[in-house]
């Protein structure tokens, strides 16, 4: 079996399943946001929406889903294109640096979301 320490869950099936589940969560979240935006949005209605606990939880779920979903997707892209086969001997270093950058950015986004909605 091909092992991959940097993949999200290390098995192909869980990665695949997580990507499907998170995409459904994201779809639901963005539909909700789109629905809100279709009505009239002003500061008060927007704050009132995000003050509610379910919305905070939903937003956090969406942010975590986005991070997991992106990581699995980016990991696939990195392991397709940023490899020794494609880039020569430097491939592995370039991939690891890119993965580090992407994971820092995703963790940063999640923390940022948490700070915004729970502060």
């Amino acid at each position: 079996m091909v092992t991959s320490v940097t993949s999200f869950s290390r098995t192909g099936l869980s990665d695949w399943l997580i990507q499907r589940v998170t995409s459904v969560i994201l779809l639901a979240y963005f539909l909700l946001i789109a629905y809100q935006l279709m009505g009239s949005v002003d500061y008060t209605s927007w704050t009132r929406l995000f003050e509610q606990t379910w919305m905070k939880v939903f937003t956090l779920m969406a942010a975590l889903s986005l991070a997991a979903h992106s990581w699995i997707g980016l990991w696939s892209v990195f392991t397709d294109y940023l490899t020794e086969r494609m880039l020569g001997p430097k491939g592995n270093v370039i991939r690891l640096v890119s993965q580090l950058g992407a994971s820092l950015a995703l963790v940063g986004y999640v923390i940022w979301v948490v700070v915004i909605i729970w502060s």
Binding site: T3, G12, M86
Partner: protein, 235 residues
């Protein structure tokens, strides 16, 4: 006259591959692409190198990239592929070229070998044969017909990028051929070997394989079945 552009590469004398043009007199006939290659080899340049054997779409030797699409030269008529009087023939993409149109298939076969493409059943074989019901036998239709021509795997971007880790459509079609076989008892072991992020799950459903298979098979569908089996096994 048909304008034919051939990929040429002789590692002993060429620094890099190049395309060579021939004007071939087809006598106005709707030849197969393989016939055109045979004409070129006989009448124009005897050093043109390619694989061929049965010349009737059974052996799977002459998989080539014909006007941008993988297919078997022997069963691809000019009328089907030539537009604007031009025929461009290249080796199957993604595999190392040995010479001209001949590629090194080692990576392809290594992936095939990984799926253990043979019946596994430790119970002693009956005197005549292991019986299957007509329904069980029907499960193998659309799977056993594969001739391992490699047209599918070499048209798959996921196989181009990770030919050493992604089994590829041809290998996975065969993996499912044995997973679906009622006589095979190694299902659990076979599935356990496939549940990593590369072997099966590098398939992103691009379906180039389905588009090119000269036998009209559907590797993407077989991969979907493997995924379902993995899912059922894990849940």
């Amino acid at each position: 006259m048909l304008k034919v552009s051939l990929y040429r590469y002789n590692p002993e004398s060429d620094d890099a591959p190049h395309m060579e043009d021939f004007s071939v007199d087809t006598g106005g006939k709707d030849l197969m692409v393989l016939d055109v290659l045979e004409l070129i080899k006989a009448d124009y340049d005897g050093s043109v190198t390619y694989r061929r054997s049965c010349r009737e779409g059974v052996c799977g030797s002459d998989g080539l990239n014909i006007n941008g699409k993988n297919g078997l030269a022997c069963i691809t008529p000019l009328s089907e592929t030539v537009k604007g009087g031009k025929l461009v023939i290249r080796p199957l993409p993604g595999l190392p070229v040995i010479r001209d149109l001949v590629v090194d298939m080692s990576l392809f076969y290594a992936q095939y070998e990984k799926v253990q493409p043979y019946l596994q059943n430790p119970s002693p074989a009956p005197a005549i044969e292991r019986l299957q019901s007509p329904e069980e036998r029907a499960q193998l239709d659309g799977l056993y017909e594969c001739i391992l021509c490699a047209c599918c795997s070499t048209s798959c971007p996921s196989f181009w990028w990770n030919p050493d880790r992604f089994i590829g459509p041809a290998g996975l079609l065969q993996a499912y051929r044995f997973l679906a076989d009622s006589r095979d008892t190694a299902t659990e072991g076979r599935l356990a070997k496939l549940d990593d992020p590369f072997s099966v799950f590098r398939c992103h459903g691009i379906q180039n394989c389905v588009n090119v298979c000269p036998k009209g098979l559907n590797p993407t569908k077989a991969i979907g079945h493997i995924r379902t089996m993995l899912l059922n096994r894990a849940t």
